[in-house]
Symmetry: C3
Subunit: 316 residues, 3 copies
């Protein structure tokens, strides 16, 4: 998430009521999780295991729960609960304002776009030209939608990331979502789909991609151009799906992996690690489809195998 | 379901136009299915196979399709179609009244709770403090929601149980739902989830539990505290899920079983019988994950096994 | 799709600005895809592989991208892009008109039918008697619903077919849906289901069939009478499901196949080819349940098989 204005280290530290090390006027231009930080960002780290990763990341300011000297070019903010501090910052920049009407006041809608009855559109949403938003759809704050986009009825765009941190005594703490959903031109989204906003980055649906009904796409996932996802496909968070990928019905994709350009995944498959493009896959866990068919054929030979062993044993 | 007032045996029998055996002023305090009855309840039985179970249950009044003497302490109502009689009773106590507006008149909403546009809230719903109900959500009659609950857009709470009884000539007869949905404090429910009301008991989501998008939870299912269910999980009716259970994406759970405390079920698994807590599971049907990995490794050895048998046969 | 009035060959050719061969006053009574055409229909063909099929189909007028003599009794319309021409025709007969209110003006609703708040009903929808349409449901244009039908909250009936044609340069082109959804008497549909309209024919849900929550049914699929589909079942397009079929939770059905009368499919199964009625099936890909259980039992014997081979080898 890039801030709408630049803050200084001392301003942010004051907001968190925390000590800091670094130039008080050091600029902070955005906030991001450790794996997606850019220069100018503030991030957080609360586990010694990840201290090095955070201190060597592109982030220029790090909220950390250990007193230490700041590495060269970096600033540190000392806080006993960096996760809570990060959430507090996000909340102060992404304020949720209760809506008073179905179409919020600060919404931009392009020429030729049709919005059917019962649609809810949150604050700062931008919708391009010649779109068709069907009835009872919900579009959360800050969503960006391109031109010639069709969204079918009841779909929900921009709901919060499913991202919780276990705390021993209080159950789960929620990571506040600071990102958006961006939908490029000529995308079509079926009925009753859900696309979550990014936690700190944006969730992206690339140009020309088509989603069937009841598809779920998790936070910070980036879908390429001209992909086809059939009904009831579910994709977790932080997934990269390259261009021209086809996922057939009820395919499930785990978080934090990449599906290569032009891969085709047959129905009901489950993908738990990155897979190369240009091939056809099937199964849960997924394999190349030829390997999977061979495997199924071999399993069907088991009665024969057992007979063979019996007769071999009889020969002893 | 506990009645809002106590009825007498003769009142209920009159409503059903049925004969009875027992003290006419015997109090009837609620109505339940045979497997969840409590003292004071009326229940029904229509198959000789279950007569003993019903007559020995905690129910104090039984609608039955056979004339017999009432067991000690019990009352009987004689009716040729006990299922229909039961449904008739439920319908007379749980009246569906068409709504005239999006927020029904007899709704209680706590301080600090935000209800976004397009939300429908049925009669007698109670919502606690500091909740956030996102746009276009539907909450059926009689639902009870605690404090600090977040419900994302388009979700449906309290729809009818999927519970039908086959009748040879008329197709399926529907069991009328008399129960409610109860959502405890600090629960978060994703977008486009469905939680059905109980048939005679309540469907329960325990404190601190978090549901991702497009999760389905069936009637009378009881989910413990601090569980996490990822997107597109589906849970049938009358399931017990103990505390701290994690179900990853697209897991399916059959009816009438228990998942023990702290169990973790990997994505796309299918659970068809009760499983112990504290372990990690995978597969459809589900196995402990280590067993499942071993099994998959053994299947990959099949080409080698077939080669071995060939060479053993060659030795003959 | 049957036209509301009969057109002539010359009228249609003029609309497409295309040459034709045949009697200018030849009547055209409807438009359909090649596999569902009837006499009087116009259809299209754009690949030499399917020329014969189109020219020998029941269609009386064919849009084709090759100049040739018309077969006896047929008319031809010559167009370099028959798919685009077909889409143009459909669009001119099935006009989408933006709705100005939640219940469109030309809607027929039978006596005793209750429509809860937030429901959207498109143009030309017909709903029978004594139905109950729960809150925030969306019913697209031209849907036909019988008597005593219950539709739970948030469900979407009549969304567009997921039917795209890859074009090398422009990504995917959408086939415009000309068909409808028809729901017969005494059907019950759960919350957050999606039923797509037909591409050229109608999608049909037969009398007395019951759908649980989050079920998806694709375009042109025809479901028989008294079927039961549990939650999160997904059925692709152009499927035929005969009467009395039971699909348990999360079953997936591929396109263009038939499930025979009375078949029962256990939860999480995947069906990729037609299956006979009257049997119980399980697995992905699906097998008769007894075969599947045998197979799973054989897989569990693999450690023993490997031991046997080891000791046989030891005997060498």
């Amino acid at each position: 998430m890039i801030f709408s204005k630049t803050y200084t280290l001392s301003e942010i530290a004051a907001l968190l009521k925390a000590d800091f090390e670094g130039a008080p006027d050091k600029p902070i231009t955005g906030i991001n999780e450790i794996h997606v930080v850019n220069e100018g960002d503030i991030t957080f780290v609360d586990h010694p295991k990840y201290y090095d990763k955070a201190l060597n990341s592109k982030a220029t300011t790090i909220i950390i729960n250990k007193r230490m000297a700041a590495p060269k070019g970096k600033a540190l903010i000392f806080h006993e609960a960096p996760f809570d501090a990060y959430n507090k910052l996000v909340k102060s920049f992404v304020k949720f304002v209760p809506a008073l009407q179905k179409i919020s006041p600060n919404v931009k809608v392009g020429e030729g776009t049709i919005i059917q009855p019962g649609v809810f559109i949150g604050e700062q949403v931008v919708i391009g030209k010649n779109c068709l938003i069907h009835a009872n759809t919900t579009i959360y704050d800050n969503t960006i939608i391109g031109d010639h986009v069709i969204i079918h009825a009841g779909t929900v765009i921009g709901s919060d990331a499913f991202y919780f941190k276990k705390k021993p005594e209080t159950g789960y703490d929620k990571m506040v979502s600071a990102g958006r959903v961006i939908i490029e031109d000529m995308v079509e989204i079926g009925a009753l789909c859900t696309i979550d906003k990014g936690v700190s980055n944006d969730t992206l649906i690339g140009q020309g991609t088509k989603l069937d009904n009841q598809v779920h796409i998790g936070h910070d996932t980036r879908v390429g151009k001209n992909c086809l996802f059939a009904a009831q496909v579910g994709i977790a968070g932080v997934v990269v799906i390259e261009d021209d990928v086809i996922l057939w019905g009820q395919v499930g994709v785990q978080k934090d992996l990449t599906i290569g350009k032009g891969a085709v995944i047959l129905g009901k498959s489950g993908i738990s690690k990155s897979i190369a493009g240009g091939k056809v896959y099937f199964g849960a866990p997924v394999e190349e489809v030829r390997e999977k068919w061979k495997e199924l054929a071999l399993i069907r030979k088991l009665p024969e195998i057992i007979e063979d062993i019996k007769s071999l044993k009889g020969l002893e």
